[in-house]
């Protein structure tokens, strides 16, 4: 087992005995060596081109060890009021990615459970106002190698199969206050007769509202 310039990395009993995961990014070559007694240089750390003796190397089989890096995202967090009809886009350039590497990359928007909500070309292309529901989102940068399985809206990033790496996430908080539905009334009063005109307690009921009024114990 050598690196791409012939340095001997290992002398395994069989290729399948080698765990390439811990070797880091790079290319390896697997060879089969036949030799007579007395071969010099068959040692980890030396170079296969420096063998001295009677030997012959097979052709090599390459082993490419990819190590995509999602990089580091800077920016945010962002908070939007959704459902108000005002487009909620992350400003262009408001998220910066550094130190990402990999054959492919993709912006990914998920909910806080990792479910993929969108795969935009840029974070600023997403209008968070129109997405259904009051769900906080996470924006990630994904680097991956060819063959990744599961990169699809509606699936979960925990189910990816392949060689990939995510950046840190940037949170997007989507707030959506709900005024609720009032039931009761209409009420009709005789004004100016000196009799207090109050809506009876409990005559208006409120349902479906979000938020709380600590003073509102009795309507």
């Amino acid at each position: 087992m050598t690196n791409d310039i012939g340095n001997i990395l290992g002398l395994p009993l069989t290729p399948s005995a080698v765990d390439f995961d811990v070797a880091g990014q790079g290319d390896c070559l697997i060879w089969y060596l036949s030799f007579e007694d007395g071969l010099i240089g068959l040692e980890v750390g030396l170079n296969a081109t420096d063998f001295e003796g009677c030997y012959d190397l097979s052709n090599s089989i390459s082993v490419t060890r990819n190590q995509p890096d999602g990089g580091v995202l800077a920016g945010g967090p962002f908070e939007f009021c959704v459902g108000d009809g005002v487009a909620d886009n992350i400003p262009v350039g408001a998220i910066n990615v550094t130190d990402a590497s990999g054959s492919n990359n993709q912006w990914v928007v998920t909910d806080d459970l990792g479910n993929i909500l969108g795969l935009p070309q840029t974070p600023s292309a997403v209008d968070f106002d129109v997405a259904a529901g009051q769900v906080d989102c996470l924006v990630w940068y994904l680097s991956f190698e060819d063959g990744l399985i599961g990169l699809e809206a509606g699936l979960n990033v925990a189910d990816f199969i392949g060689c990939f790496d995510f950046s840190n996430p940037i949170s997007v908080t989507r707030t959506q206050p709900e005024g609720g539905v009032l039931a009761g009334g209409p009420f009709e009063f005789c004004d100016g007769d000196g009799v207090a005109d109050n809506i009876p307690q409990g005559a208006i009921t409120l349902s479906g509202a979000s938020g709380s009024n600590p003073m509102d114990n009795n309507r």
Binding site: T175, G180, F187, C190, S210, G211
Partner: protein, 143 residues
């Protein structure tokens, strides 16, 4: 975390009050008109939540409920002119207030009725038309 607030507006959305609860509002004395009761849910930072401003001018993250209408009526009995009238009762001669001998001005309200009472306010009759009233018979009937 959203907060909530009860809002009373006029029919143009002008904020008349921000009560702790709708039942705390005494609508008497505000004059004829229509008020609306709303529930507002909003995030911190809402601008414009102040009496005298208009809910259309809110700036921030908020949502209003449907409104509940409160109708404030101010009926006015108006002013009667005419009379006083004097009749000789129980003489067998019908005693009608002559047509055109009185007038009503300034009355207002969804409903109205003529009311005949004695001097103590006891209702003696609710005639459809004052001209049809036969006072002598009325007194006999309600005596």
């Amino acid at each position: 975390m959203a907060q909530t607030q009860w809002i009373i507006t006029d029919n143009l959305g002008n904020i008349l009050g921000l009560p702790q609860m709708p039942s705390a509002v005494d609508f008497d004395g505000l004059g004829t008109g229509v008020c609306f009761v709303w529930n507002l849910s909003f995030e911190l930072g809402l601008a414009g939540l102040e009496t005298g401003l208009n809910v259309e001018d809110f700036e921030g993250c908020y949502n209003l409920s449907n409104p509940i209408s409160v109708i404030r009526n101010t009926p006015d009995g108006g002013v009667l002119e005419g009379g006083p009238f004097q009749f000789c009762a129980e003489d067998g001669i019908p005693d009608f207030i002559p047509a055109g001998s009185n007038s009503l001005t300034g009355n207002e309200g969804n409903n109205s009725a003529w009311v005949v009472t004695d001097l103590n306010g006891l209702i003696l009759g609710l005639p459809q038309c004052l001209l049809l009233l036969i006072l002598s018979q009325l007194e006999l009937a309600f005596a």
